[in-house]
């Protein structure tokens, strides 16, 4: 049992799930370490939600081995009080007030009244809905509804959080608050598994897993993934005399891509080469583009 703390929180080996003829999970293998923010990204229909539902025991897997908090998933019911699950459609009662929604979910976990009030206040503060406490949830705006749903998921302070697109429709400032809060949770040793379509959010995760057609095609820290994809930064140059300047640059061994309209693009091996480029030409304007996580994923999934 001493090693339990270091066991992965979720450990999946060769998961397969078929919906009729559609293979939603295809030999999915992944370990999710304790205390991480783990971002699940990938195109629509790539199996992110299916994977999360498998982790919480809502799906019967066709094949594979899945352990959650060091237990086989078949016995995950025993530890539901330690898991927080936010579904992709926001599970709330529109005809109850915010307070009543939170009270209800707190009640399911047997949280006593005093503690419950403390947490409700804290969470409503975090999702910035404190002044709407007595409003009916159904009258909230889309983003507010989303925020309340997150608060309801956090009410029992679970150690494993599974959040399916929790930030859809949430404004940037509050999204930042969410991520700060997730940071705090992971620093307490809790694990946050989160799906998102936003690459700036994925960048904030300690580990990102890229799913495609039910497989994990790449996983690692955002930096690792970019390095692994072998992407280089490039310069975008608006040249004074495109023809002449391009041939000057080619003479220095650069590959000049003129395909994209007015600007020329040059791949750089390192940032030092910027000076060299400017020695050769003096462009009207230029921009340095760092490789993005998105490009890295696209590149990596080309091979998959």
């Amino acid at each position: 049992m001493a090693s339990r703390g270091r066991d992965p929180v979720v450990s999946a080996r060769g998961l397969v799930k078929d919906f009729g003829r559609l293979r939603a999970l295809d030999q999915l293998t992944v370990d999710i370490p304790r205390g991480a923010t783990y971002g699940l990204v990938g195109p629509n229909g790539s199996g992110k939600t299916t994977f999360i539902r498998a982790i919480v025991g809502l799906l019967k897997l066709d094949k594979g081995e899945l352990n959650v908090l060091s237990r086989p998933v078949s016995r995950v019911q025993e530890i539901y009080s330690r898991i927080g699950y936010m579904t992709q459609h926001k599970a709330l009662y529109p005809d109850l007030t915010l307070q009543e929604n939170l009270e209800f979910f707190a009640g399911l976990y047997g949280i006593d009244k005093q503690e419950r009030e403390r947490r409700i206040s804290e969470l409503l503060e975090m999702v910035n809905l404190a002044e709407h406490r007595q409003r009916l949830a159904g009258t909230l705006s889309g983003g507010m509804y989303q925020r309340l749903s997150l608060a309801c998921t956090l009410i029992h302070e679970p150690e494993l959080l599974l959040l399916d697109e929790p930030t859809v429709g949430v404004d940037p400032r509050l999204r930042q608050t969410f991520w700060d809060y997730f940071e705090r949770l992971t620093s307490e040793g809790k694990t946050v598994i989160i799906t998102t379509h936003l690459m700036d959010e994925a960048e904030k995760c300690r580990i990102v897993g890229y799913m495609r057609a039910g497989r994990m095609t790449a996983a690692g820290s955002p930096e690792e993934i970019k390095r692994h994809a072998g992407l280089k930064p490039y310069l975008q140059l608006w040249l004074r005399d495109p023809k002449k300047d391009a041939s000057l640059l080619r003479a220095r061994g650069y590959e000049v891509d003129m395909a994209k309209g007015a600007a020329a693009r040059i791949r750089l091996e390192s940032h030092d080469q910027i000076k060299d480029v400017l020695d050769a030409v003096s462009p009207l304007d230029m921009r340095l583009k760092e490789p993005t996580l998105e490009e890295a994923f696209l590149k990596l999934s080309e091979g998959a």
Partner: protein, 354 residues
């Protein structure tokens, strides 16, 4: 998994109550719908039952007597299977009398509480039997046996009132429960329950508890209207009547929960009405006595909870029956119905919802 945590169940019940309480239209409907229905039926069926309703059990041998009685304009004939059925209906006040025919014997059952009608029935039966005897070759007489049974001088509302109470509760609870469960599914809260310590038994029990609160409210108002507004007697204890209605409501709730699995939207729930509600109205034995429902359909009547509930309610209200009197078969049947569909509803709330 079968473990039932009382506190969690209470949390679900409280939530259901809060939601229903906020739903003004539903509250209005559950209190006023029974009143409107009662008034409607009250006027439509006002006054004494007209004509003479005569039961007939034809054991053969009296074709002439039979057609003689059938030919009498004032007599409405209800065909029955046995003498005991006839007895039951007379004591319920739904038949004025009955003629039981066997070869060589005619038994005339009469209601001791309305001697005028009884006299008329007896006179006609004797006249018919005499005619029959006269037409025979060897002047062979008919043996006429008369029996008096204590019936009950009933107004239509007295029979129908208790049944309407049951019907309204059943209808409201079934529809609302089914819609609530469809919503739990579509808004994703059910999936969230599945990933919480709340067990399936607790979910359904919580609903039963929460809805019972409203069933009580509804039955109390309806009972007041039936007894005070329409003068239907309440010879038994109102608490016994409420107990019957609560059991019926619990059955309707689990039935609604079970059927919610076959509906994808609230709209589809409404489409269950012809399938679930209408047969109960037709076959529960209120408008047409059970004993007169064709035998091949009768088994269906005995499967429907409203049949037992209206029987029990009538017994409590009109005859002053107490719980032991209605235990068998009414309460037992309602209890079994509840348990069967409680189990079915619980099993349908599968954890793996793929």
């Amino acid at each position: 998994m079968i473990a039932l945590n009382v506190r969690r169940t209470g949390v679900v019940a409280l939530r259901v109550i809060r939601q229903l309480k906020r739903d003004r239209r539903t509250i209005g409907l559950i209190t006023f719908a029974p009143i409107v229905l009662m008034t409607l039926f009250g006027y439509a069926l006002s006054g004494e039952m007209s004509g003479v309703t005569l039961g007939m059990v034809d054991g053969g041998g009296h074709d002439l007597l039979r057609s003689y009685l059938e030919g009498i304009k004032d007599f409405e004939i209800v065909y029955l299977g046995s003498e005991s059925d006839a007895e039951l209906l007379i004591s319920d006040g739904r038949l004025n009398g009955a003629v039981v025919m066997k070869p060589g014997e005619v038994r005339v059952l009469l209601d001791a509480t309305s001697l005028q009608i009884s006299g008329a029935i007896l006179a006609r039966a004797e006249a018919g039997a005499q005619q029959e005897a006269a037409s025979r070759e060897k002047d062979q007489g008919n043996l006429i046996v008369t029996r008096y049974i204590f019936g009950y001088d009933l107004e239509m509302m007295d029979t129908v009132g208790p049944a309407i109470l049951g019907l309204v509760v059943f209808f409201f609870t079934f529809i609302n429960a089914a819609i609530s469960f469809v919503r739990e599914r579509s808004q994703g809260t059910l999936e969230k329950f599945m990933v919480s310590p709340l067990s399936r038994v607790e979910i359904v029990s919580g609903y039963v508890l929460g809805f019972s609160f409203f069933t009580l409210l509804q039955s109390a108002t309806t009972l007041l209207v039936v007894t005070h507004g329409f003068g239907v007697p309440m010879r038994g204890s109102p608490l016994t009547a409420l107990a019957v209605v609560l059991l019926l409501g619990a059955g309707a709730l689990v039935l609604g929960s079970f059927f919610s699995n076959f509906a994808r939207s609230e709209f589809q729930v409404v489409q269950f009405i012809p399938l679930i509600i209408t047969p109960q109205i037709v076959l529960c034995g209120v408008w047409w006595p059970l004993q007169s429902i064709p035998e091949f359909i009768r088994p269906i009547s005995y499967l429907l909870p409203l049949t037992y509930a209206s029987d029990a309610l009538r017994a409590v209200m009109l005859k002053g029956a107490s719980i032991p009197d209605i235990l068998f078969p009414d309460l037992l049947a309602l209890g079994i119905f509840f348990l069967v569909f409680f189990a079915a509803a619980t099993l349908m709330l599968r954890r793996e919802v793929d």
